[in-house]
Point group: C2
Chain length 209, copies 2
Amino acid sequence: MREQKKQATREALSAAALRLALEHGPDNVRVDDIAEAAGVSPRTYNNYFSSREQAIVAAVTGEREARVAAAVADRPADVSLADAVIEAIVDQYTDPGEPARDALLLITTRPALRDAFVATTGAIEHPLTGAIAGRLADPGRHAARVLAASVAAAVRVALEQWLQTTAASATTSGLVVPSGSLPDLLRTALAPLIPALDAAEHRAGRPHH
Amino acid sequence: MREQKKQATREALSAAALRLALEHGPDNVRVDDIAEAAGVSPRTYNNYFSSREQAIVAAVTGEREARVAAAVADRPADVSLADAVIEAIVDQYTDPGEPARDALLLITTRPALRDAFVATTGAIEHPLTGAIAGRLADPGRHAARVLAASVAAAVRVALEQWLQTTAASATTSGLVVPSGSLPDLLRTALAPLIPALDAAEHRAGRPHH
DNA sequence: CAAAAAACTTGCGTACACGCAAATTTGCGT
DNA sequence: ACGCAAATTTGCGTGTACGCAAGTTTTTTG
């Protein structure tokens, strides 16, 4: 029950942060406003989020970290690790409806919000480690941890490219090369890691060469 | 020429930060003290570092980012990309003398400093991208960027493990498993990425499978 | 069911990061 | 050498993060 209430206030805070940022612009929102809109004290707001940007971005990213890990774990056992990871990530990052258009425009516009957005990729690392370890015969989790961190890094690279081009096309109207849709960018960024994922999946022991 | 003076004040600031932190403990050092010891205004301190931890850690990490990239680029052309990267990193992170023993003990002790220390691995990403791209025939730098980010992530994982065990052995005297020297941890963490580095090196085109 | 224990919230005080604009310094052209 | 333009330093003001201890709510225990 305490968990439910904690998650409720957490959602209320990030929802209020996003709504106020959209209404008045992100620079005209103070933490007191967010706290008041969520019905808690300013100090409590800082027990949940350590920056305004974190709260705003959380309203968009939501529970993506846990969902990615669950999606990897739920793939049938006969698909390769690489395919499971790639498809799970692409699925979760193309989930429509969730990213409200205006919210994403806001995030791509302000540098501080962009940074907070890409920083969320770090949060998938821990759950993903478990999901990858579950698909490896090797009980040692060192490889899984490194692979999860690498996958998270690749996702971050893809998001950076995506934000860069979308920000550019937002300012200079239409003449930039739209370097691809987000799913394509994700697949391209993850492609170099396929050999590492395959190798970890096939060899049980030490991959020293 | 102004570059020299800027680097000088930067060094003076981080050196003063480390010295004061060692003398009085990191929690008893205020920004004003660091600025005064370096002979600049407090506001100027914040033009160089955005946190006390950053300044302290910079005194230890120094120019490691650039040195790693240079070391990768300087390996002979007939060694594999994976070997070049691994050996360059191991070399730069075992450079003796630089990490003063007491400074590292200080960093491993305080959580905030530990976080700042591991965060420095992100700084090697950009230079390393260039160095890796220079060893790939493929002019497209997407793969190099992803690989560099993955390598940086692996190094970060190794540092986390190293700090974790050293911190544990610092508190509970001696009964924890010393999970290995830093060079060993680095090699183990980088091993899962070898297939990806090899594949990127050999195939010029698209590594889709 | 009462009372202790644990967890969460809140107010307060302190230190801090950073935007902004004025003042000072540096590099350069003539 | 002189002064102009760009870069850098500095003071100030605002909004913020967070440790700490007291107050409040929830969970556990006898």
